[in-house]
Symmetry: C2
Subunit: 259 residues, 2 copies
């Protein structure tokens, strides 16, 4: 495997950084290649602006069009180009982050906003009566797999089906499906550590053991069966899920998972 | 009304900036007071790090604890303090942003990550057998109202109940409920402009008219009836919604809306 780990925590001695380090050593010891984008260590620029697109930036900035022109003319900034190259090098991508306000930290969202440009991650492929671009299961990153490794401060119960925060699978859906499945990744089930507000040093060996087991089993882990867009499940161009495909009673984000 | 508009688009001539400007003139013309946090114009620092907490930062940074200590000792940075003061001044908060990758842009997430500190927006109130802190309907910002004004590139159909992107209400739930209802805001239904990828200058007057109408009716708009945490709907401390409270067949995020 060739694995890219994108890491988003400011503290090198944090649980997130320990899990990142453990992933590097575990995968390398098993003979795999690993690259790490440690966004805080890289002082990653988190905000999209005209500086990202150089001469391709319109006088009146248009983020989608201008990012696509910069991508196609090779004028994206070196930091963004390097991340796109790492994504194309990797067969497996791990995003390591703490859940802050029910989603990823700003620095990681800024990695997505800047690296996932038009023509690279969206605006890919042609539209016709039977296809609506290459997205949701097709696209530039098809054939690769992505995995979230997430630390969650609160207890698991609060993220259960009836928990007040909402089910964790639903909170992660916009990342799994909207950010990663969209440009083509297959999505492996997340590795989640709950209750980190009260985690002690004594708890860490169990967490580390579970993470090592997940890492060493990545090759044989089945992805979440999100429905690909252009293979019959959706009407085109409304992109409504066709009637009757889902199990009785399923609604919301869960509609977009098969079986 | 005293309204704070938090604006997150890099282009002053964008649709988002026009909607922000229109909100200012509409509200001020109606006799209301308005403050604007134009995050790009302010060059808002988007990433949480030890610099945010000054002398309150631990040698091994702990974001929650250190942000709470900085809040309590008055050592947060001036930019964060100013935003907290604006939030306490306002009775109404509008977040104006484009939906990028199914959530807010990084710069706005970074406003949340940095401004919504421990002891200010979370970690507020005592825990007992009948209360689990002051959150979800109680808290520092209780008595205030928040509204998202969101532009969405894709067509409305893709965000419908069976649309491939997932229902927009569910995509916005982590912001409405997890970020804004959590520290006490009541949440007004969002103002959404769909299909902005294909919007033309000729479409703008209709959008502007609808936005003006919403703005002038804010005082009389009913909030989304999210369930408050400590008033009997949830078991404590599991914070599971008690059985039988929801309409038949409702699941997922929708459980946390009454009626």
């Amino acid at each position: 495997m060739k694995t890219l780990i994108v890491h988003a925590h400011p503290e090198p001695a944090s649980l997130n950084s320990s899990l990142k380090d453990l992933a590097v050593t575990t995968l390398e010891s098993a003979g795999h290649e690993v690259q790490v984008s440690d966004l805080y260590a890289m002082k990653w620029k988190a905000t999209v602006d005209a500086d990202d697109y150089g001469p391709a930036a319109s006088p009146r900035l248009k983020v989608a069009a201008d990012s696509g022109r910069a991508f196609e003319t090779g004028t994206l900034t070196p930091d963004v180009l390097a991340e796109q190259e790492k994504l194309l090098w990797a067969d497996t991508v791990i995003l390591q982050f703490p859940l802050w306000w029910y989603t990823m930290p700003a620095i990681l969202k800024g990695w997505v906003d800047r690296v996932f440009t038009y023509r690279f991650a969206y605006g890919v492929g042609e539209h016709s009566d039977v296809r609506y671009g290459e997205r949701y299961g097709e696209g530039t990153l098809a054939g690769r797999r992505a995995l979230l490794s997430v630390t969650v401060g609160g207890p698991q119960a609060h993220y259960a089906a009836r928990g007040i925060n909402g089910p964790l699978d639903d909170l992660l859906f916009p990342i799994h499906h909207g950010i990663l499945f969209y440009p083509g990744f297959e999505i492996l089930p997340p590795f989640v550590v709950h209750g980190t507000d009260r985690l002690t040093d004594e708890d860490y060996p169990d967490v580390a053991k579970a993470w090592r087991q997940r890492l060493l089993a990545l090759d044989s882990t089945d992805p979440i069966p999100f429905r690909p867009q252009n293979f019959g499940d959706y009407e085109i161009p409304s992109l409504h899920l066709k009637d009757g495909l889902e199990p009785a009673g399923r609604t919301g984000f869960g509609l977009h998972v098969r079986g």
